[in-house]
Symmetry: C2
Subunit: 335 residues, 2 copies
């Protein structure tokens, strides 16, 4: 229809694709080097697809001044985390980029270096996409594709009364990392600052752990923690038609987060509700817990019991004495 807005900081669309995007599709034979309108691909026999999509808008989901390679890698990792929570092996992705007038070739080059780095790290490839120009903010959207043995992906809706609630790794680092970037903890030591900002910029999708947990066949419900631990546990409770209790003092935190909490316990809600964790949140029968902890230990990962599932509905967050904390209110999600 109308021609896109001129952007003389970028090469033409075809040059851009040839120079930066085609190399990213080199390991996807069905993408034909992006020389076709489509990519063809088939899962192995007995496997089914796991599909997820996400959008990122500059100024909302990332800062325009964020390093382009980290934007790329976080975009991929956030989606790989969704796949990991279903036990899926990641395969590849389709990417749509709407470039704003301020994007120049150097930004695209660095962005694609980030994609290439994580493609190598996670064994995935670019399967297709579209590149357009927008007068608005830079907008990225991604469809990620993985595979899982048919019917074996743990869903949100399988939690059962009596289940233990477990979470991987440590919670709150991503949300604290963003605060560090905004210079809200000026007294924090440099090691903690680097650790937390890295956790914010470069989440670690728990691909191997998610796969192993799925393969155990003992996980009742699983998802990744992205909206915040309390909100995501509510998603599991709602989808499963059960109630859940989260023990705030059991929630695993990193040394850096512990140091911040030691300074000021009123930061606890941020940890429980801040989001950007990309850890696995799951429920399983208490009988299965020792096996699951063993599976995690073999991968040098930590799983921690943080609560229980019961009949009823909703999330109750309790302190060490079992008294309900007023954390479950939606207001905390806007921290």
């Amino acid at each position: 229809m109308a021609r896109p807005p001129d952007n003389n900081r970028l090469p033409g669309e075809f040059d851009l694709i040839a120079r930066y995007f085609k190399p990213l599709a080199a390991n996807m034979p069905g993408a034909l080097g992006l020389d076709d309108d489509v990519c063809t691909w088939a899962p192995a026999l007995g496997e089914e697809l796991v599909l997820t999509a996400d959008a990122l808008v500059a100024g909302i989901h990332f800062l325009p001044e964020d390093p382009a390679d980290l934007v790329a890698r976080k975009m991929l990792r956030v989606n790989l985390s969704d796949l990991a929570a279903k036990g899926a092996r990641p395969v590849g992705y389709l990417m749509v980029t709407a470039f704003s007038p301020d994007v120049d070739e150097a930004w695209v080059a660095t962005f694609c270096e980030g994609l290439a780095a994580d493609q190598a790290e996670f064994g995935i490839g670019l399967m297709g996409g579209d590149t357009v120009a927008t007068p608005g903010p830079l907008t990225l959207s991604l469809t990620a594709i993985g595979t899982v043995p048919a019917g074996k992906a743990p869903r949100r809706n399988g939690a059962r009364p009596g289940d233990a609630v477990l979470v991987s790794g440590s919670i709150g680092d991503g949300a604290l990392g963003l605060k560090v970037l905004r210079n809200e903890f000026p007294g924090l030591d440099e090691t903690s600052r680097r650790y937390l900002t890295n956790r914010y910029h470069l989440p670690q999708p728990r691909v191997d752990l998610g796969r192993a947990l799925m393969e155990s066949g003992r996980v009742h419900a699983m998802m990744d923690v992205s909206d915040g631990l309390v909100a995501d546990l509510a998603h599991i409770a709602d989808a499963s038609h059960v109630a859940t209790t989260l023990r705030a003092n059991a929630v695993p935190v990193s040394e850096a987060a512990a140091a911040i909490l030691a300074d000021d316990m009123t930061r606890l809600p941020l940890i429980l509700t801040g989001g950007d964790d990309y850890e696995l949140l799951l429920t399983a029968s208490p009988d299965a817990v020792p096996d699951l902890l063993g599976i995690a230990a073999e991968l040098d990962m930590r799983l921690t019991i943080v609560g229980e599932i019961a009949p009823g509905q909703g999330v109750t967050v309790v302190d060490r004495d079992g008294a309900a904390l007023e954390l479950a209110s939606k207001g905390y999600r806007h921290f």
Copy 2:
């Protein structure tokens, strides 16, 4: 990170999804009513996936005042056309919506009515996606998924010297329809106006024809005409490392387009290069042509021979006397 811009014309994200998007996923069991982060799905044995993605930005790819249901249907159909050109049976789509501040609930409701209408018409369903807010223009992106017998999808790169070049339906209607909407042909009769604007707003992806042509096993290269007949034929020639001649007078046009041409032959370049046709463009051995014409006729469709493939490179457009027309210059693509 930052909260999205307020939009008090829209319900909250979860309400919006529940009210408008969940019903669109009802026929996709693996989408679990959009209550999970992912959709699971498997192709039938012996089939492989065909994947394609597109982005649409308001003001560039459609007009903000275009009817929302037509925006939705065109978005789907443009992608279904890519699948059709590979002989794929459409299955479903993931959709990412970035809503601008001017989008209200009525717009979303009408948009989703359009999606529902075409889901029913083409037997597809919503498999997932993401909904965000943007301070920029409304931005839509779609990943469409289809299936085809493994290894059977015709690609762009299979054209061989000696092949005939064929095109389905009529060419130029979409580009002329846009001009009608811009009131550039004030003298045109009402029937032609309606026909052409409908062709612009509501392209007909040639799903059944593409499937039947693929099944014949006699198509060497196929793609849909979206950038313009000359540009897309150049894509086939480039990918196949061959040359091609397009006979301008052989290009099939509708009665409405013929009337416009009769008035002013200088509009021919617009027809040959305007794009937005969503017809099938294919090459096959001359031996196969009678069979292919028969396949089309059985579906009440028309295929027309418009040119030939030869050794060499590039597209030559010739007039009825065989003299080269200066149409192949890239300038015409900017009409």
